[in-house]
Amino acid sequence: MLEVSGITQVFSGVTALDNVSFSVSKNAVTGIIGPNGAGKTTLFNIITGIYSQTSGKVFMEKRDISGFPPEKLAKLGLVRTFQNIELFGSMTAIENVMLGMHVRSAGGIAACSLKMPWISREERRVSEEALYWLDFTGISDIGSVTAGNLPFGKGRVLEIARAIASRPRIILMDEPAAGLNSQETILLAGLILKIRDLGITVILVEHDMELVMDICDRIIVLNLGTKLAEGSPRDIQENPEVITAYLGDDRE
């Protein structure tokens, strides 16, 4: 589904990623883990076209998408959430989700200014479907709340709702459980599996090991910019290198 090949990223002398390659299979949840500063967010930024990598390529269903800008990738069905939530803070939750559906609706400046009949119909469809996604993610109670005023946990879920409202083929989530309490984390795990069951490929960066081991079909471990290991949750848990580099610290 998604293939990353030989990605290297150098920031003014610092090598954040060094020749990282892996591929992600369709309809599965793939976890990317690694200590702080391993390069996980950088990798996401490259895949989603926010940074342009020093070298290497990204393929989506065999198509070379390296260097595509984020907006083009969104149209192709590749969306993401951010480690530091990026919502449209002055707008309501439902407007945020409606923006998620931007790629699936039509109407340019001229048609919208003239308020063509089909624009109104389209708008109605979008707002109705947005309600569905709020419901799907379990936050239908906050539809009319301004996103900037939402509590942290709800904000995280809203960001996911906005992302899946575009009916993507791949969703990248950067630490969706960070800052959530254990109750919220359990709900999140359920939500992620529900999203996978929609036929969406999920790639997950996460520090919460329990969550990762529970829901991921496959795990990739990054450390200091290089790929350390790759395998099923069980392989990873048993991999001695990973234990010393990562899990070892975690269990203290």
Partner: protein
């Protein structure tokens, strides 16, 4: 919609209140300023992109109309539309490098652009008449009906203003309006949901310039004389003041701001020199104490007033 119909009725009936006279002339300017404030607000209030050079686009419209109708004798109505398209195209092409910039840098670049345009008006004397201006611009006419009185110009200008206002309202409430506000809130998130922010910013910049150009053309035809002084940096700042006072991101607010700032100097006649001081003070005070502008500030004040009445009633 009810709000808009009320607004239209006010616009249609307003002249009955004033029996023509000087105030009609002022209201013509208020209409032109309303168009300009709406144009700037689409860019600044919605997309969150500042421009300190909008007086330049206003001037381009005015001069294109002035020059094409006096020197080249072209049909004024044709020129108004052609000028608007040309200005829009100019802004569109320029928009790509300009709107790559953000915040303060964008402000400086648009400011510089406005000043370059202003210098060109001053220096291309053969066409523009330079600092002493361009006179003899014909009044607009339809058949034998000439827009030669203040009241006629009032209905002409406000007719166009009302249409532009309706289009702007539609746009602001549509998916494009939502996308513009998204850019304002978080450009990176906007891109990730699939908004081509770069293109949309440039498009709205061009639309904004087109509206400004139409306002410029109407201005030129209704006053029949133009000079660079009307299109300088000070006027760009005045427009900014209108938008901020009215309320960033409120189309009706732009109308309020434009009306207030057009009428203000008239009330302060005699104290003519004070207006620049007052603009400066208004701009700062508004931003500090009523950052939502009049459009949001007045309802808020009324609410607070009501609540305090209730509070004292209970006590």
């Amino acid at each position: 919609m009810a709000k808009f119909i009320c607004f239209m009725i006010i616009v249609i009936l307003a002249p009955l209140l004033f029996e023509g006279g000087y105030i009609m002339n002022v209201l013509v300017f208020a209409g032109i300023n309303t168009m300009l404030a709406i144009a700037l607000n689409l860019l600044l209030g919605y997309a969150g992109q500042i421009s300190l050079g909008h007086a330049g686009f206003f001037g381009i419209g005015a001069y294109l109309s002035g020059i094409m109708t006096t020197v080249f004798n072209l049909n004024p109505w044709f020129v108004i539309s052609a000028a608007s398209v040309a200005t829009g195209l100019f802004a569109f092409l320029l928009g790509f490098p300009v709107l790559k910039l953000k915040g303060h840098y964008l402000a400086m670049a648009t400011l510089g652009l406005g000043i370059i345009i202003y210098i060109i008006f001053n220096e291309t004397i053969d066409y523009t008449g330079g600092p002493s201006g361009l006179s003899g611009i014909p009044q607009l006419s339809v058949g034998s009906f000439v827009f030669d009185s203040d009241i006629r110009n009032y209905y002409l200008v406000w007719g166009v203003t009302v249409v532009i206002m309706l289009l702007a309202l539609n746009l602001s409430e549509s998916r494009v309006g939502r996308a513009l506000r998204a850019i304002h809130d978080s450009e990176i998130a906007a891109r990730v949901v699939g908004i081509n922010t770069r293109l949309l910013k440039v498009q709205i910049f061009a639309v904004s310039a087109m509206i400004s150009s139409v306002a410029g053309s109407l201005y030129a035809h209704s006053v029949t004389f133009i000079s660079p002084a009307s299109f300088g940096f000070n006027f760009s700042v005045e427009l900014l003041t209108m938008v901020v006072i009215g309320g960033l991101g409120s189309i009706y607010g732009s109308f309020l701001g434009a009306l207030l700032l057009t009428l203000l100097p008239e009330f302060l006649r005699g104290a003519n020199d004070y207006d620049i001081v007052i603009y400066g003070a208004l701009l700062m005070l508004m931003l500090m104490f009523m950052p939502g502008g009049l459009a949001r500030g007045i309802p808020e004040l009324l609410n607070r007033f009501k609540n305090s009445l209730k509070g004292s009633g209970n006590a």
